[in-house]
């Protein structure tokens, strides 16, 4: 039986933004800590470590999920996508661009998680209704913007994405 003992690190392998990565982690290590402090992917932020704030939201096999509520080991074999994977080289994606144009971020700390949820929403549903956008956003806390600019940015991004390929 594959028992990972508590006092040792064990290898965990997954793909991060399309690239295979391997880290060693204790069984209790959270995915957030593995991403940020072992791999150095600090774009994913930690706000509450109990699943409420949404800042740490990443995509696990295409679906948004809280990285703070996942043990690193639970990512074994998964495709993990984080905010660092949204850019197209040095250029912003249409979603990121829309956030910039609508001033949908201030401090930017919650933004990575929000982008990952919206990106996951628009992938299968490029014509998501405003209700669906709000539903997706309701799992995120933003303390700066009052949310309205985020909704506007999401609507603008949706319309742009609908018009062309997502990563254009």
């Amino acid at each position: 039986m594959p028992r990972l003992t508590k006092d040792e690190t064990h290898p965990v392998r997954f793909t991060l933004n399309g690239r295979p990565v391997s880290v060693r982690a204790y069984p209790r290590a959270l995915l957030t800590d593995a991403l940020r402090h072992e791999i150095g992917a600090t774009g994913t932020h930690v706000g509450c470590e109990h699943g409420v704030c949404g800042a740490c939201t990443v995509q696990v096999d295409g679906e948004p999920a809280r990285a703070c509520l996942m043990l690193a080991r639970q990512a074994e074999g998964c495709e993990i996508r984080t905010v660092e994977g949204l850019n197209n080289k040095d250029a912003l994606s249409p979603l990121q661009e829309a956030f910039r144009e609508h001033f949908a971020l201030q401090c930017g700390f919650c933004t990575a998680g929000i982008l990952m949820s919206l990106d996951a929403l628009f992938s299968p549903q490029p014509d998501a209704e405003e209700d669906a956008i709000r539903e997706a956003l309701s799992g995120h806390l933003c303390r700066c913007t009052g949310y309205a600019p985020i909704v506007q940015a999401a609507l603008a991004a949706r319309n742009r994405i609908k018009g062309g390929p997502i990563d254009a």
Binding site: M1, R3, L4, K6, P27, R28, G54, C68, L71
Partner: protein, 275 residues
């Protein structure tokens, strides 16, 4: 806010999982989606010495639809059930309740059975399981048993689950013809645990049930006769007997108010859906 140390068993099949649970006894816990458990680990409210990850056991990831029952395996995520094409038709109550379970991002990992095992008195899925008269199938090393949902939930976060035992599936009775179902909830914010959640079923013979979560230590059911002349009185008695308590989010009195008012509305909604 980091978990205390534990061994992690990534079980490949049921026998590995059951063996690990047997060895761990009261100090072992099952982890599936982890959406209830990991916050408690992070806060060190829970410090099990062994966690048994069951999400890679293929047979636990199945939704089995029979003629009259829908069996949902212990690793089936809430979002998987949400996207199951037959959900609205076969389990209209669960279909109505699932969007109220936390947020998309949590339903993507959280499992149906995990919510049942956690037995939060305000949670929607235990409420649905009781309202529909569902069952919980439990397994330990040498024994499998099926327990009625109303017997499984024993109190606040307290269930009939024995040491070394795990939920392998829950079973919801499928929609019956000419039966109406409705779900309503009031929470502080969208996605929060319910202050009061109501599930109503209205049977063809005119009788109905109202099951209420968020008030007593477990979801509780009120049986209603076809004659509803004294409905308000019955709701009031029911509201009082749930022994509501004050907490940070609502007063006992407000909970009773909601049982009376939201309960009535939920029943009203279920009745016309009977065809």
């Amino acid at each position: 806010m980091k978990p205390a140390p534990f061994d992690l068993v990534a079980a490949n099949d049921m026998s590995e999982a059951l063996e690990a649970l047997h060895q761990g006894g009261t100090e072992a816990r099952v982890i599936a989606g982890g959406q209830s458990l990991v916050p408690m680990l992070n806060m060190r409210l829970a410090s099990p010495t062994t966690l048994v990850d069951i999400t890679r056991i293929p047979e636990l990831s199945r939704i089995e639809a029979n003629t009259d029952r829908i069996n949902i395996g212990a690793a089936v995520r809430q979002s998987t059930l949400e996207r199951w094409p037959d959900l609205a038709d076969r389990l209209p109550l669960v279909h109505a309740a699932l969007p109220w379970v936390a947020h998309t991002q949590l339903r993507n990992r959280g499992t149906i059975c995990g919510s049942v095992a956690h037995a939060d008195p305000s949670a929607e899925l235990p409420l649905c399981l009781i309202a529909l008269g569902g069952t919980v199938t439990l397994r330990r090393r040498r024994k499998t048993r099926e327990v009625a949902a109303r017997d499984f939930f024993q109190g606040m976060m307290s269930t009939d689950l024995a040491p070394g035992e795990m939920i392998v599936s829950v079973s919801f009775p499928a929609r019956k013809s000419s039966t109406g179902y409705a779900f309503r909830e009031v929470a502080r914010r969208h996605g929060d645990f319910a202050i009061v959640a109501c599930a109503a079923t209205a049977r063809p013979d005119g009788t109905a049930t109202l099951t209420v979560g968020g008030v007593a230590d477990t979801p509780r059911t009120l049986e209603l006769p076809a004659d509803r002349a004294d409905l308000d009185d019955r709701l009031n008695e029911f509201a009082w007997h749930l022994q509501a308590r004050d907490d940070l989010h609502a007063t006992a009195r407000y909970r009773r108010d909601l049982v009376r008012k939201l309960g009535r509305e939920t029943l009203k909604e279920a009745l016309p859906c009977r065809d």
